[in-house]
């Protein structure tokens, strides 16, 4: 499969571009190189936008960063907010939080998980799954879902809305609020706000479980298709708590191989550089992280719901754990790797998020007013990691004595999934496109595989000054005369 990354002789091949990718966050495209018989020789996912947040975070005061970095994204700003604040807690000298502050941060995070998973599944992915990959493209969207399945569309919209309301009550706004500040949070949850959310959460749990069951039924109809589509063996990585359970807010790094065997476990995420590194390739702005000990060829991995649900020992909420066991049963004791199974795992997490929200709302601490912790010794460097809806999210900062950020590195979920997404589209291209007459429906199969990863392309490209660049000088016959390369890493 890896051979489809670069064609041996690209000049004689026909180029087909899926540009832009639709129903994903951000701007990207896929290019395929085909020969005269439509045999596929090269498939690449390109992220064509450039954001550069790492560069303009540098030089800013550290307490401003958790708010600024949210503007990376409109879908999961809370994840960036919390990853940054976890680092800035340490920078400012806070080694722990008050119980209320930590629970309020968890509440906003699980609200974020619920709304992001809902928007992805119902608004972006369900048109493919419910209407068909090659259904009429003008109706293959949330409006088409609302026409064909009005109850499902309504549930999706209201699940998302509920998650956004959780975020609003904890950060002041549905999108891009404040909320977390170094050492705690700036806003208590009033009893009235708690009661408002509590009144709605039971219905959300029901709808989230319905969504899990809906995907299970879709799988039941075409199990081989769902298990195999866009599938490939891959390592998996995510955070787990000290018991090995799923914890989307905090924990240690765990990596498992494609058979579920251990690679590393309970790694303190502040030492992530010991176990992970990144590779740069010339044809995309997005970097390729991998497990250092395994190298770039064998060390890439998958993050996000499909990885998290399978590497954790259990999901610590009753209904979601029942659904997880049903899900694991399809692998007969082994991890499963089909791209479409992401949706199933994602909705199990949405159900878990709804259950966690309910439990947090029932906790008396959630309406506490002790919001700020005691301050300890300041630090000059810190790492914050969180499980964002799309996967593991790293924020790494160094701050000078003058309080200004001197170094910023963001390794976002979509970047962690970069190689996996490329593998997924190569698997689909090899199986569904290779040697066939191209149609919109066939090309949508490739988009379906990418969409399963719920990529946030605008979050993923930031390393200004490190962008790989390749310039070829060719003569009129297309013969390469000279080539200049810059910032190529090992490629």
């Amino acid at each position: 499969m890896a051979s489809l990354e670069t064609a041996a002789n690209p000049k004689k091949l026909r180029r087909v571009a899926i540009d832009p990718l639709t129903r994903v966050e951000g701007h990207g495209k896929v290019t395929l190189l085909l020969d005269a018989e439509n045999k596929v020789h090269q498939v690449r996912l390109h992220i064509v936008e450039f954001r550069g947040f790492e560069a303009f975070i540098e030089g800013r005061p550290f307490w401003e960063v958790p708010v600024t970095v949210q503007r990376l994204c409109g879908i999961c700003p809370v994840s960036h907010h919390l990853a940054a604040i976890k680092a800035m807690d340490a920078i400012a000298g806070y080694s722990h939080l008050t119980p209320t502050a930590e629970k309020l941060r968890r509440l906003m995070h699980y609200g974020q998980i619920l709304q992001s998973h809902a928007v992805h599944f119902f608004h972006l992915a369900s048109p493919d799954l419910l209407l068909g990959f090659d259904s009429e493209p003008t109706r293959r969207n949330i409006v088409g879902i609302a026409a064909a399945f009005p109850d499902i569309a309504k549930q999706g919209v209201l699940l998302r809305k509920f998650g956004q309301e959780v975020i609003r009550h904890t950060t002041g706004k549905r999108i891009h609020g404040t909320g977390a500040i170094p050492g705690g949070v700036n806003k208590a949850l009033s009893a009235a706000e708690r009661d408002t959310l509590r009144a709605g959460i039971d219905q959300m749990i029901v709808w989230a479980r319905d969504a899990v069951r809906m995907i299970a039924r879709l799988h039941e109809v075409h199990p081989a298709f769902y298990n195999g589509f866009g599938g490939f063996r891959a390592n998996m990585m995510g955070l787990v708590d000290r018991h090995g359970a799923l914890d989307l807010y905090h924990g240690g790094l765990r990596a498992r191989d494609a058979d579920g065997g251990p690679i590393f476990d309970h790694v303190d995420y502040t030492t992530y550089e010991k176990v992970l590194t990144e590779e740069i390739k010339p044809w995309t702005y997005m970097k390729f992280p991998h497990i250092r000990a395994l190298g770039p060829e064998a060390g890439w991995y998958r993050v996000g719901p499909l990885a998290r649900i399978q590497i954790c020992a259990y999901v610590p909420s009753e209904l979601a754990e029942i659904e997880r066991r049903d899900f694991l049963a399809i692998g007969d004791g082994k991890p499963v790797h089909g791209a479409l199974l992401y949706h199933w795992a994602r909705m199990i997490e949405a159900l878990h998020a709804a259950e966690v929200i309910r439990d947090l709302l029932d906790d008396p601490d959630i309406v506490g007013t002790d919001l700020m912790a005691e301050r300890g010794e300041r630090r000059s460097e810190a790492v914050g990691v969180i499980e964002a809806p799309r996967g593991t999210l790293f924020h790494h900062y160094r701050v000078g004595e003058d309080d200004l950020v001197k170094f910023c590195r963001l390794i976002v979920s979509t970047t962690n999934n970069n190689q996996a997404m490329n593998e997924a589209i190569r698997a689909v291209a090899a199986e569904y496109v290779d040697g066939r007459v191209l149609t919109e429906g066939l090309l949508n199969h490739i988009e379906v595989a990418i969409r399963a990863y719920d990529p946030c392309l605008s979050c993923a490209t930031h390393a200004i000054g490190q962008m790989p660049l390749e310039v070829d000088l060719v003569d009129a016959d297309g013969v390469l005369i000279d080539r200049r390369r810059k910032n190529f890493g090992g490629a």
């Binding site: 307490w63 708010v67 200004l404």
Partner: protein
């Protein structure tokens, strides 16, 4: 003395004034808001931002500098004057680097609040994107010159109230900028203190206390529930 000897009309409303009061001060005392930015009740008029431009007996001028006089016919709430103010605000926004989404002054910034008040929907003009420095040398405060609108309130406060003369305006035209009066040019090498008047007068996010940004939640900030016109007249604005 008759009423007409100590009053003028503002948009048809009779406004009483005390001897020596400016049009802006008299209007504010009478509960009528005239948009303004560089004016501050604790300092003599400055007349630099021109946001308070009104039409007095047919001629435009700054309400913060023109003395109230008997029988003046003053116009402020007109589409033409609002358009002038909107353009002035747009020029202030594009001249500096004002990124409200990441600014801790958001929600309590006069420039932002006025943009809402006057319904400035876009910067309209091409951004200058000037290169401006941040001075984080002081242990308790930092200066972000990206957001400075050169109202000189800090200059006036430091000179006239604090007696320290820490800030000054340097350069001309597009090169105008605030400088710090110390051998290094850094705030950390001055005796600037949290108790200084200059530490509290900045209407934008150019002079900020370190490490307290975003401590006030959205919903509890100065302009979250009422526009600057009401906040100002209620005397909450400082």
């Amino acid at each position: 003395m008759s009423d007409s000897d100590s009053s003028f009309t503002l948009d048809g409303r009779i406004i009483a004034f005390a001897p020596g009061q400016t049009i802006l001060a008299a209007a504010t005392a009478a509960g009528v808001y005239i948009p303004h930015l560089c004016a501050h009740p604790d300092f003599p008029p400055h007349g630099s931002c021109k946001l308070c431009t009104v039409t007095v007996n047919g001629r435009d001028g700054s309400a913060c500098t023109i003395q109230a006089a008997p029988g003046q016919e003053v116009r402020s709430d007109t589409p033409e004057l609002h358009e002038i103010r909107r353009v002035l605000l747009q020029m202030l926004f594009v001249e500096g680097n004002h990124f409200c989404p990441g600014c801790e002054k958001s929600g309590r910034c006069k420039l932002q609040a006025l943009a809402y008040e006057i319904e400035m929907l876009s910067p309209h003009f091409v951004q200058f994107f000037p290169h401006r420095e941040i001075d984080a040398s002081h242990p308790e405060f930092f200066l972000d010159f990206n957001r400075c609108i050169m109202c000189e309130l800090c200059v006036r406060a430091s000179r006239d109230v604090d007696g320290k003369n820490i800030f000054a305006l340097a350069g001309r035209g597009r090169e105008s900028h605030i400088i710090v009066n110390s051998p290094s040019g850094k705030l950390g090498d001055t005796d600037f203190a949290a108790t200084d008047k200059a530490a509290e007068v900045c209407p934008v996010g150019a002079i900020l206390r370190k490490e307290i940004g975003f401590a006030t939640p959205i919903g509890a900030r100065l302009y979250d529930h009422a526009p600057i016109s009401r906040v100002d007249l209620a005397g909450q604005e400082k």
